[in-house]
Amino acid sequence: MNASILVPALVNGLTTGAIYALVALGLTLIYGVLHIINFAHGSVLMLALYGVYFLNTGLGIDPYLALPIAVPAFFILGYVLQRGVIEHTAHGRDQNILLVTLGLSIIMDNLALYFWRSDTRTIDVPYGFDVIDLGVALVPVPRAVAFGAALAIAAALWFLIGRTDLGRAIRAVARERQGARLMGIDVEHIYGLCFGIGTAVLAAAACLLLPSFYVTPQVGHAFVLVAFTTVVLGGMGSFTGALAGGLILGVVEAAGGLILGESLGQIGIFVIFILVLLFRPTGLFGGKPA
């Protein structure tokens, strides 16, 4: 083990971690405001990846240029899912919401399997093999772009929640739903908006991810547990936490993969997940446990 192997692996881990962070941001927003653990999160990411894939192979649209199409489309999808399905099935019970989102994920995963089969699909982009030379490591362009964009989106979300009127309404609803309702805030609408923002961020993640990754109907599974681990590690409802958690996990996975081999490296993430849940469920950056 020497620096010339370790450093590139860690840099790689950071760029992967940025994507994890992005996926986790949507999840933590949904949890922080609606207080639901969205099991369908990975499946929506999978659908977004397919969406970007087909936009590319069918209409020749570059994934980065697909952002203005995919993001609004998935915002609408998320809003509709929350207000059309989840809102009506919950009957207020926590367990039910868990199961509804599970049901949605089952439907999405398996319809994808049915329509698109389980072949692994990738896209070719002209810059797919370009690299940026950092001296200590070579970073593929798509990954570097993903890293930068993830940070930018995180910053945008932070601004939205912290500095705008909408953000204030969202924070009010997250903290005290009844009180917010009494203040005249349309809580159900806010819920829909937040879910929509969460899924919109997933669409952005998909656009950034596809150039350096692949899509299959099962790809959501791979991300969903990592996303949960990120959120739990960083603290439910904390953006900084999701960002930090994602980066940490990306690095841990890369280091673990280096030491233990590809598949066992994944275990590192789940073990961390279990440990955090058991010993520090509020995560590194605090937040309320369920």
Binding site: G103, I106, N110, Q266, F273, I274, A290
Partner: protein, 320 residues
Amino acid sequence: MMSDRVKLIAVPIVLAVLAAAPLALGTGYWLGLATTTLMFALLAQAWNLLGGYGGQFSFGHALFFGTGGYVTAVLQVRLGVDPWTGLVAGTAAGAAVGAFCGALSFRYGLKGSYFALVTLAFAEVFRILATSVPFTGGGAGILIPLKVSAGNFQFADKAGFYYAVLILFAISLLVTLAVERSRFGTYLVAVRENEAAAAALGINIFRVKLGAITLSGALAALAGVFYTQFYLYLDPHIAYGAGISVEALLAPIIGGLGTLFGPLIGAIVMRVLGELAHGWTGGAPGLSLALFGLLLIIVLRFLPDGIVGLIARLGRRRHA
């Protein structure tokens, strides 16, 4: 819903009907279908003990199923142990893993969504381990050599498998009935309904939950053992995959959480729907599972007490 006395009569009747089923089903495809349905009903009964009666929803029940399956497979293939001992060992392993998982989770007070997530994580950890470790055959899976004899838990006559799984299912049904009528069962339901009140009445919450997950693990492992004997092949994706975990929880929810016959009804409904979907789509993968997802959402929206609850409500309306 059903009174105690009605249940005591219903159980032998149901089992008798199930025992007579091969006469109507013949020996081919339908018998095989009934066999796997009962296997899933067994898995569902296991889940129902922890999730329905106990109110602790596990999203990773494949953890126990797969452990049972692998323990018996590995013992037979690598150590030449006979399958009936393998059955006992597999069941014990399921109980042990249940106890381990439960001790960790409940000691630290995990509930609700967090508990569901942790079970999912454990199942994934085991899946990755099974893929990476040589003695399980890794990703390629493990094959039990064909050696047909009843003593070897491989039956020439398909009916042999059917009766074997029926006996296992009957055990799970009787265990559930015994739990329902016992102090442990009452305590389990009390913990589900209201933990604070239960503790104030002298109930050791941790021990009750631990007992439930251990029992549930043992029964789920039993289903896994049967799977291994029936198909003579197991791989990490089947053993510890999401498919099993999802089927384990769908059947009790559809049939009726925390009821005696809910898991069986749910398993039958799912099988029937699965066959119908198969017929429409010509066997394309994914559609039947997608339908199950839709069924879950429909049940949650309109039938929160499952099919058993629906029957109970209709019964009450007629008597009103």
